[in-house]
Amino acid sequence: MTDLAQLLPLALLGAVFGLDVVSFPQAMISRPLVAATAAALLLGDPVRGLLVGATLEMFALETLPFGASRYPEWGSAAVIGGSLFTLHDNTSAGALTVAVLAALSAAWIGGWSMVQLRKLNAILARQRHEAVAAGSKRVVEGLQVFGLTADLLRGGLLTMVLLALFTPVQQYVLGTWNSDPRVSRAVVVGVAASVAAGAVWKVVHAAPGARWLMLVGVAVGLALVAMR
């Protein structure tokens, strides 16, 4: 995807979802399930976005945004994954695998970019420390507006640059793909579900009875699958 008319709306979407991760409004519209579906909706096929979004959501279950910890930035990454997957039709055997791999890589780079922005915010806060200590409304509000604007730009630029970079790579990889379509999907969702299973277990295992409840849940889920 190198067409600016197609890239710009997606970059805007990446900016908005990237901003939601931490800065504003943290309503979790940046979760992959939502962000990937929205990107695919923009490209005309929200159902494919939901598929890649659900797969990415399983990875995202492991990375919860605790305080100052470093975590992947799922907002713009999911826009990238949703867009890449939607650009290829259902017969592309490795489309889901490549889109998920691209989104995971983007989430990693996005997490790094958030750390850089936090360092920049710290430099500015240090430089304006005296004005803040004097109770300057203009400076306190200015720091906040700068951080929000910079985060919005960060998400937008990240989405645009990575989409422009990943699209030709994706086309090359899918053009030379030699694995069976169903096996390709099974591998990616298998890895995603392993991460999700481990993550849910880590989160719930300390709660009373949660281990048994999870096992009961799996049994019910399997029974429902068998009845299909």
Partner: protein, 252 residues
Amino acid sequence: MSTQVEIPTRTRLAMFVRLLAIQGAWNYETLLGNGIGFCVEPALRLLPGGQDGPAYRSALARQSQYFNAHPYMASVAVGALARAELDGEAPARIERFRTALCGPLGSVGDRLVWAAWLPACSVAALAAFGFGVGTGGVLLVFIGIYNAGHVALRAWGLSAGLEHGMRVASALGGPVLRRGPAHLAQAAALIGGIALPLALDQVIGPGRALFGIVLGAVALGGVVLARLHGRAEGWKIGIGLLALFVLYSVAR
């Protein structure tokens, strides 16, 4: 005893909207500090001398220093600190209170929201996806349920803080905050257990043999990752595995 300063609805609304951007200037030195000052500021305009008066400036300076808490639970701090400033509490007392708030508001919020509410809503949405609910329905389940809790928590926090001021600790002992995380974790365990096989089946499509193999691999992978807790991150391992599979699929 002097009467409490009444906070107009418009000021409360301004504080609430600002709370949504409380982490806008988050950084590794003052953390949430500037955000607290930013959110308390509309209330500080009600101090004697008004905006830019000496009381306003010293209060804004005090409230913009280092602070750490969960971003949603910070609403409790914003409300309580605004009330303390408007009640004319001694600056040293407000600073001690501000420092004391950090720990509880961080741990309560992390346990309730990041470790319970968010995963519970996420697996509920995955379950909806697994049941074959349409795109709009899945998004509605996630965004609707999550934000009902999110907005309610921020609104309650601000209101409790403004009402109780420096005695806000009593509000933090409520049953939802004490027992909520455990109940939510139990719900997440049950729903997560149901959701994973259904979501797997939804992505892979028809074919029992392949589903069985993947399920076995997921069980094994999940156990390994749970045992690696803290030593390795599953999503990073996932990048490595998927990159290897892509190389294999291209090179074979």
